[in-house]
Symmetry: C2
Subunit: 105 residues, 2 copies
Amino acid sequence: MAQGTRRMDLGDFQQLIEKMYSHKDRERGAAGTFLWLMEEVGELAAVIGERADEASKQDEFADVLAWLATLANVEGVDLSDAVQAKYGRGCPGCGGMVCVCDAKP
Amino acid sequence: MAQGTRRMDLGDFQQLIEKMYSHKDRERGAAGTFLWLMEEVGELAAVIGERADEASKQDEFADVLAWLATLANVEGVDLSDAVQAKYGRGCPGCGGMVCVCDAKP
């Protein structure tokens, strides 16, 4: 993984997106927001499939994460709590900090 | 947005997923990892559409974010750097910390 020098707390990012876009998000609702998320997922698929340059890939990962945070805001889900609860104590399948599940190869 | 009490740095989460799953992820590759991400996106759509309980929604958001982090690991993209670069200085469209773009209603 590329090693970044900047830090971004997941909760802070979700709140940044909330502040930036929530006035539009609430009106659009969950289904409409999901459509935008899917558009960005499609663009991410494109840059991966095309083996695009690093900047383009970074750009599309950012957009998918921003729309996922937007959808979480609309649904009232705290992403930081969500990942802590599910992955903070180890793999949900086997409990290990290094997964040894047979499932999901 | 629900207010969580725990903190999760985005880079730390990506490294947690790297440690937990990278031995499988490298072998599976980007295309196979994208398939798993899509399965989780489908499950997220289901719980939103069904207006499922908060715990179920939290669970599915966590899985989508975990598979997005997995895909970012396979592609060598730092999610924290990515969102900082694109959203850290304001909306990519209008530059505002509160978006006033006409696009993307």
